[in-house]
């Protein structure tokens, strides 16, 4: 790691403005680091030439004092975001060689603020997974390893490339998307900060859809402050996305006052699940103590329908996915496997183009929407969704923000859960509720497990109140003083 890649986003931003180094120098440092970190398989496409070109333009603007909020800041972009003239496949075989002629709204916002594209990041195929193992490009690898054990661990998913890249300092920050925990769980597994904004805060236009009513773009960063800066640039109303919210985007960095005195922090008792590791429970208690010490008031709250969240999620998300993925039919773009007739072509293309997990979810989704099953599954799941939203609304009558663990376990080994979808799905048990209710959530690195792996604590905020969420996260981050870092084993 060079001195340049050690910096946080906000540090680098300030030093760029102060002309302590150039955007090209910073970008070159990252380009070199990326090359040296290929064993992590975090990037599925490196765009070094484009990055250096963008950095050059940034330097010109910085020189004239016309830099944007992220001028010269090198970022990695999850492969779910369509990037103009840069291959985008959602890490699926079915989108082989797809090069969008358009730029997603979120990345367009980032480039407008001066950010630099380092490349496209690995993810679970179509963001369906919790370990990045369903990627057609092969799994991304967690930079972290267990103490005294060189087992390759997953970086979480679906945004595994995004979390691994930030943890390994091969991107200053990354974009990610969260449908059931795909930002927060990878952040927890890699000792990084992952922020899932309120549904509608960041536009979805140009983001390859998994489950439209749940998908939300957000950043993975090294610090809470970095997350605040990234969100400010990524967020905003987009007339091309009917579900994006036409509300002002506040200055999130300014919200990081460090003062949470009098803040009411809710502790939902239903998140204390059976068989939860003692070290997770202990970390949670530690988090409660930190916030209390900072002047917050701890309130016990109940979210009674929590146990129905995961089943409801695994009905709603596949249902929407089964329909969203119907467009990948071999007719207009991406992979086509010829067949005897149109139906044969569809079947062969989709059989070859989708991986097992995607097929599983398309089938589940098709099933739950079928005549005769729709009411029992889809409608029921939507009712559960309403009840979960009501749970949160009730809890927020008593508190301002909720504190929970992010995941029930630390990172696991590649291949350990891949044949057991149900235990894989359990990764999302603490995170899906925020997606079902559309609420913002953030994972902050808070400690290490007994075997030396990072653990995260999650805060869930009120709708469109990312300011309180970030302020509280900042306090948690400071108290936790998480400075541990993985050894750079991936460097040859």
């Amino acid at each position: 790691m060079t001195e340049l890649t050690k910096l946080t986003l906000t540090e680098a931003r300030d030093k760029l403005v102060a002309k302590e180094f150039t955007a090209q120098e910073l970008t070159q440092a990252y380009v070199s680091a990326i090359e040296a970190a290929r064993p992590l398989n975090a990037y599925v496409l490196e765009t070094a030439d484009k990055a250096l070109e963008m950095a050059k333009a940034s330097d010109a603007r910085l020189q004239k004092g016309e830099g944007g909020a992220l001028e010269g800041v090198p970022l990695g972009i999850k492969d779910l975001f369509c990037t103009k003239d840069v291959r985008t496949t959602a890490c699926s075989h079915i989108l082989d060689g797809y090069v969008p002629a358009y730029e997603s709204s979120v990345t367009a916002n980032l480039w407008a603020d001066g950010a630099v594209l380092l490349g496209k990041l690995n993810n679970d195929e179509f963001a369906m997974g919790s370990s990045n193992e369903t990627s057609f490009e092969g799994p991304a690898v967690n930079p972290w390893r267990r103490k005294g054990d060189d087992t390759q661990l997953v970086p979480g998913g679906s945004s595994g490339g995004s979390s691994a890249a930030v943890a390994a300092h091969i991107a200053l920050a990354t974009t990610a998307t969260d449908t059931g925990g795909s930002i927060r769980q990878p952040a927890a597994f890699t000792g990084t900060v992952g922020l899932k904004p309120t549904y509608g805060r960041c536009p979805r236009w140009g983001v390859i859809a998994f489950a439209s009513s749940l998908d939300q773009p957000g950043p993975i960063t090294r610090t809470v402050r970095d997350a605040a800066v990234m969100l400010k640039s990524m967020a905003g109303f987009d007339p091309k996305d009917t579900t994006s919210a036409d509300v002002p985007v506040p200055d999130y960095e300014a919200a990081l006052t460090g003062d949470i005195r009098g803040l009411k922090v809710g502790i939902p008792k239903e998140y204390r699940v059976d068989g939860m590791a003692a070290e997770i429970d202990a970390l949670w208690q530690q988090g409660i103590d930190w916030l209390k010490q900072a002047g917050a008031e701890i309130v016990d709250v109940s979210l009674p329908h929590t146990k129905y969240a995961l089943p409801a999620y695994y009905i709603v998300a596949p249902a929407e996915a089964s329909s969203n993925l119907a467009r990948y039919d071999g007719v207009r773009y991406g992979l086509r496997v010829d067949g005897d007739n149109i139906t044969d072509m569809y079947e062969k293309t989709r059989a070859a183009g989708f991986g097992d997990e995607v097929k599983r979810r398309v089938m589940v989704g098709t099933y739950v929407l079928s005549a005769g099953y729709y009411d029992a599954y889809y409608i029921k799941a939507q009712k559960v969704r309403t009840l979960i939203s009501q749970d949160f609304a009730k809890a927020y009558e008593k508190c301002d923000v909720l504190l929970t663990p992010t995941t029930p376990t630390p990172a696991f080994g590649i291949g350990e859960n891949i044949d057991d979808p149900l235990s894989m799905y359990l990764n999302d048990v603490f995170t899906v509720t925020a997606n079902l209710a559309g609420l913002p959530g953030i994972s902050v690195p808070a400690g290490l497990s007994a075997n030396g792996l990072p653990l995260g604590l999650q805060l869930i905020g009120k709708s469109f109140d990312e300011e309180t969420l970030l302020r509280t996260a900042g306090v948690l981050e400071e108290a936790a003083a998480f400075t541990a870092a993985p050894e750079a084993w991936w460097r040859a």
């Binding site: 996305d241 329909s323 993925l325 119907a326 467009r327 207009r332 929407l369």
Partner: protein, 490 residues
């Protein structure tokens, strides 16, 4: 009272046809239902396709407010319930001309609920047909099978174009009623400006649900005839399908619920797919779109801009112009006809205007295969012709000749009358001279006419001939009456 005149006579007795229609009407709008791509008819293939219409990854639909307004306008025109909250659903199925793999439609909560339409029948009767609903949906693209020896191509120009699906209740009992319903819907849509109604261009088409039953029985099993694209074909398809169903049942068979297609060349319907083969469309609310919500004030503002609709116009033509219900019905059946008539009638003899418009004018258009907007004779010119009759410049007889020339040349009637010297002779002296001449030349006929007064008619004809038809017929009659006293006593 039960109307039995529409029954089909089978071998075993009478059968009643029951029909409900689904009309797909393309919304008049500059851009598509969920994208900004243009909707012009006949553009070069795949030139009116946005990223959204081609269903590229990450694209999202955004509702076109103009289409919503048009649907509300249509709902008001159908005297229907306008729903302030409606929901867009996805109808999922695979087809190469359906890029998204689903059609965005409205299933459970349509924008327009129940309404009513009065249809006009040829015997002068009217009948109410109930509307069940109207919803907005996307059109699909078009598969092209004739561009390549082994492959099919797809044209996405229509993909995503807004359609209104208007669903009737099963209230129609004859092919004529079904046709009258389509005509009335088309007229209303054209009056409203919400659909151009051009069936030959595909901007309006109908699915016809047909079943037969013994009069008074429960509804029979229906077959749906898909995508019938002319009013004539609708009639043919129904006639054929109803007879087919009667024959099947009378032969001891049962009707299977299925989708059929009308082969207009052979004049028959053919099975397309059975109920068992029907798609499970897996409708669910489109998560990319919020429910469509607007206020009563919005609806009221649209209502305030509604034009006079055919039924109201018909009533006004009867009361204001003194037309017969039949003539008024003929005139209002198309907006352009009604407008033409009113332009002709303005400040003139309305009954005469109606007779000329529905008689000579429509006749000539029909014969020439022209529409009002391509007519060589304008309303102003036809009005001028009527004025020439009214002020005795020409006779009604001569006017017909003048009209024929107008239709051929597009010239003004006054010009034609002058150039051809057709001005009516009202100089009594000149007419009397002509009469005397004829009488002098035909003493035998004079004798006959004195004995048999009806023979005077022969003299009228001769005098008209002698004056090239220009003599004022009333004057001729009057003068002749004076010459033949027995007539004067009549």
């Amino acid at each position: 009272m039960t109307d039995t005149s529409n029954y089909i006579e089978g071998l075993t007795g009478s059968w009643e046809i029951v029909m409900g229609l689904e009309i797909h009407a393309q919304v008049v709008s500059n851009s598509k239902l969920f994208s900004g791509a243009p909707t012009e008819f006949g553009a070069e293939q795949n030139t009116q396709v946005s990223l959204v219409d081609a269903a590229l990854p990450g694209m999202l639909p955004v509702i076109n407010e103009k289409c919503v307004e048009q649907a509300v306008r249509t709902g008001l025109g159908l005297k229907a319930q306008v729903n302030l909250r409606s929901v867009f659903d996805r109808k999922n199925y695979f087809y190469p001309d359906l890029p998204q793999g689903y059609q965005i439609s409205q299933f459970k909560y349509p924008i327009i609920g129940e309404g009513i339409v009065e249809i006009d029948l040829s015997n002068g009767d009217t009948k109410d047909v109930r509307i069940e609903r109207l919803h907005l949906e996307q059109d699909a693209g078009k598969s092209l099978h004739d561009q390549h020896p082994s492959m099919s191509f797809v044209d996405l120009n229509r993909s995503g174009v807004a359609l209104m699906e208007i669903v009737s209740m099963p209230d129609m009992r004859s092919a004529e009623e079904a046709q009258a319903f389509v005509k009335k819907i088309r007229a209303i849509l054209r009056y409203l400006g919400t659909c151009d109604g051009n069936m030959e261009q595909g901007s309006m088409r109908a699915d016809v649900n047909v079943s037969v039953r013994r009069p008074g029985d429960e509804l029979g099993t229906r077959c749906e005839i898909k995508n019938v694209n002319s009013i004539r074909f609708i009639g043919q398809a129904i006639e054929y399908e109803a007879r087919r169903q009667v024959e099947v049942i009378e032969d001891g068979g049962t009707i299977k619920q299925e989708t059929r297609l009308f082969d207009s060349k052979a004049g028959v319907t053919r099975s397309m797919r059975s109920k068992e083969e029907a798609h499970d469309y897996r409708y669910f609310p489109d998560p990319d779109l919020l429910p469509l919500v607007f206020t009563q004030e919005y609806v009221d503002a649209i209502a305030a801009t509604l034009p006079e609709l055919p039924d109201d116009k018909k009533a006004r033509f009867v009361s204001e112009y003194g037309l017969s219900i039949y003539d008024a019905g003929v005139l209002v059946s198309e907006k352009a006809r009604a407008e033409f008539f009113e332009d002709v009638a303005k400040g003139r003899d309305a009954k005469m205007a109606s007779n000329w418009v529905t008689g000579e004018f429509f006749g000539a258009l029909n014969k020439a295969g022209l529409a009002i907007d391509t007519s060589p004779v304008s309303a102003k010119q036809l009005g001028a012709l009527i004025e020439l009759i009214k002020d005795d410049t020409i006779s009604g007889r001569i006017a017909k000749d003048v009209f024929e020339i107008m239709f051929e040349t597009g010239d003004d009637p006054a010009k034609i009358v002058e150039e051809k010297g057709l001005r009516q002779v009202t100089d009594l002296g000149a007419i009397e001279a002509a009469i005397d001449e004829v009488m002098a030349a035909n003493p035998d006929k004079v004798q006959q006419a004195i004995e048999k007064p009806k023979m005077v008619g022969w003299f009228v004809g001769q005098v008209m001939k002698a004056t090239s038809g220009k003599a004022n017929p009333q004057a001729v009659n009057k003068l002749l009456a004076a010459k033949f006293p027995p007539l004067a006593e009549d």
